[in-house]
Symmetry: C2
Subunit: 465 residues, 2 copies
């Protein structure tokens, strides 16, 4: 319902932009949520973007620009004159401003910096110290902060005075005279208590907090696990520096999931914030081509194994009927195992001490899976294949063929499952992202082992030497 309304307003804005009708465009833009406005902006051409930004001016453009994908930010800022830019950059919340500074080039960074007031300059400089993907790099400093020696009356006064500089009061943090985090409280505890109550009496221990240098994923996981709206960010002396909010956590979880999904499909590079449709074909190409070429050369090794076993194949061409199956079963079962392990690691369910348990679990699953597949195919070969014999034209000992194919299939599924589970663990032990063990790369590796297993076992059982 809210969505339908947005679609109408979006359509109105588009019409106004097409007609270059400034006042209608401004009216429509004012009605839209900045997230919807940003989505519209992404779909515009350069001329329309210029018209829209000039029409709405720096105040309205502030939230729009904060919500744009990284690669559009610099271009959007270029539409404004220095005086407008000063307004826009000053209006940005501290964490969004840091995001902007992180994506523009050095020259622009210096120019933008000079437009800020001394207080904002210092704040921005402090936040820029932290890497983009750390808790410090994503935090906002615009949270509620009270001294432990205040009363409720003083606290409400302090929060009221600071209101314009406060993004969220979902939790209010209590600090001592040195600025160290000593507790947390809620606005309702202030509003529902008498004015002379000391803050000390209505605060709780701040059990959950994170170091500014910690990984953003770790911070998001903590927010999700403990169901808290804000996670305080501290330095090594426990000084309160800022907070990470639930909406940061949502963004981080979505970004990291997309990244893992793309890596699992052998798509390279940083996930772009651009939507699929607004990513150029060239960028789509670049993120995929390196892996495809790399994998192609690994696949030539499989081809080489096949080539070396040509004599086996020539003597029993019926083996080709099951070659793709045995080979692919390794990639499929290995991919299942590696995906399960990689996702469990991403969700923080697995620690290095669990390797033995994982190995046992996957070895059991792999054995059952291998036997199930082997038996199914053995039944198929002995009972169903003979009746299809005229079309295949093969004269063959179906019993021994069934034993050969089934044995190879069982060995291939078992070994691929165990390998698929182990490789991500190994990757992490040498400090690589487990998700680099993409399903295609795992499949390419077990293609080689599959060829070796199949031809070796078939040659032995069918005596094709």
């Amino acid at each position: 319902m809210a969505e339908e309304q947005d679609i109408n307003q979006t359509a109105e804005l588009m019409l106004a932009l097409d007609a270059a009708d400034g006042s209608a465009a401004l009216a429509a833009a004012k009605e839209l949520h900045y997230a919807d406005l940003a989505a519209v902006y992404e779909d515009l051409n350069d001329e329309q973007r210029d018209f829209l930004l000039k029409t709405i001016g720096p105040e309205l453009a502030t939230d729009l620009i904060a919500d744009l994908p990284e690669n559009l930010i610099e271009g959007a800022l270029d539409h404004f004159k220095p005086a407008q830019l000063r307004v826009l950059l000053t209006n940005l919340s501290d964490d969004d401003r840091v995001d902007v500074f992180q994506v523009v080039d050095k020259k622009d960074q210096a120019r933008y910096f000079s437009l800020l007031g001394p207080r904002d300059q210092e704040l921005t400089r402090n936040l820029l110290k932290y890497e983009e993907d750390t808790a410090g790099g994503r935090m906002t400093t615009r949270m509620g902060r009270l001294r432990v020696d205040m009363t409720v009356k003083q606290a409400i006064e302090a929060l009221r005075r600071a209101e314009d500089d406060t993004e969220t009061l979902a939790r209010i943090f209590v600090i001592d005279e040195e600025g160290r985090l000593v507790g947390k409280t809620r606005l309702r505890d202030l509003a529902f208590n008498t004015w002379d109550t000391p803050i000390r009496d209505i605060m709780n221990e701040a059990d959950e907090f994170i170091l500014a240098t910690a990984d953003q994923e770790e911070a998001a996981r903590q927010l999700a696990k403990y169901d808290i709206p804000l996670l305080p960010v501290v330095d090594e002396f426990h000084h309160l520096l800022g907070v990470l909010t639930y909406d940061d956590a949502l963004e981080i979880v979505e970004e990291e999931s997309t990244e893992d999904i793309e890596k699992l499909a052998a798509i390279a590079g940083e996930q772009t914030e651009m939507s699929y449709l607004n990513t150029s074909s060239t960028l789509h190409y670049k993120r995929r081509v390196v892996w495809l070429i790399g994998l192609a050369f690994v696949n030539i090794i499989s081809g080489y194994v096949m080539f070396r076993f040509s004599s086996v194949l020539e003597r029993a061409f019926v083996l080709s009927l099951f070659l793709p199956m045995v080979v692919a079963a390794g990639g499929n079962s290995g991919g299942q195992a590696s995906t399960m392990v990689i996702r469990a690691m991403a969700l923080g369910e697995i620690s290095p001490g669990n390797i033995l348990r994982i190995m046992i679990k996957e070895a059991r699953a792999g054995l059952f899976l291998g036997l199930s597949l082997g038996i199914t195919i053995a039944v198929f070969i002995t009972l169903i294949l003979p009746s299809m014999q005229p079309s295949t034209g093969a004269h063959f000992d179906f019993f021994h063929l069934a034993i050969a194919v089934s044995t190879a299939l069982t060995v291939q599924v078992f070994s691929s499952t165990v390998l698929g589970a182990m490789l991500p663990l190994f990757a992490r032990s040498i400090r690589l992202d487990p998700a680099v063990v993409s399903s295609p790369s795992l499949a390419s590796i077990v293609d080689v082992t599959g060829m070796l297993i199949y031809f070796t076992i078939a040659a032995a059982i069918l005596q094709l030497h």
Copy 2:
């Protein structure tokens, strides 16, 4: 840092459980966050679970049970006597209680129901009307709710009285005399204004809301897009029924991402809430075996194509060197394309009207990718392969071989990329989840086309008929 502390407390609890030391276990359990307590519980054996639950009693067990994976809830409740169960079920928040009722069997549901007071019975019955994966099925009714004709003083009084029944005051919703949603405000707007201010003057329009019957994924997306802590849930007459919270959204996003990742790797069935390690090998086996067997039979079709072209392969066994590469390149490039499209759909970036744009984008990317691979391999065959000739033992026209392999590779990558992008769109158009187009199933399909493309083109160019 918070984590380290938890690990110590967890260790203390485990020691107390091993020693069957009730008072030490209770003390340790009280120190732990319920999320950590639930994680410990998952790892215990039956005897230890019984001891822990009896030791901590129904009050402390309430939050623990609310945080357990679905399949452990019924077992945990069985440890309590009716009087204790009454305490526990009454203490549960309304949305957690509904979750419990949704997972226990019918008989237990009726028994639990009879333990509740009349008000909780009615509330639970109302919430159970909505499907588990809808906004209504996940909402809580424990939010701040004010009448539009109140003053700030009346409002604060009303919220204070209802405090024990309020999970969150991150946003406070304003209703009219009929219970229809008319606006929203914040506790700070109450706290920072004079007591005689009418609520009407300090409320904003509630632009974002969702129907109780809407998909939970849609609700989570709206929370994320608009950066709001609470999304009001309404019925078709715009009556305010409840709210969805940011922590619901985080959970939904994680669940849905895991589900998509698992489907992409051809892992069947509902994602369990159990962690990887606490899922039995048998369940791991069940979720994987059906796909593996199904895919195996598709792969036999590839084998059949290979078998039919045995005469081509026999005349030029050197073709086997590049057969796995051409075939696998289709699965790899198709998997990349389908993954990109499936993720874009999951994030709501693609609508049915975009099909043509996607097709053009992927056709271009596929063509460039195919040409890049084709040219790379052609260079490899003409420049590098001849120098390796003694080991391959092949006497061959490398120039024509290069043309044949490269052409087949280009056609295979191009067609697989387009097919990979189209299949998820097609799945959605017939109302299937796009993520059912798993990478392994796509790979199995393009294995067949790859075999056909490779042998047909090679036979034509190398004149092997």
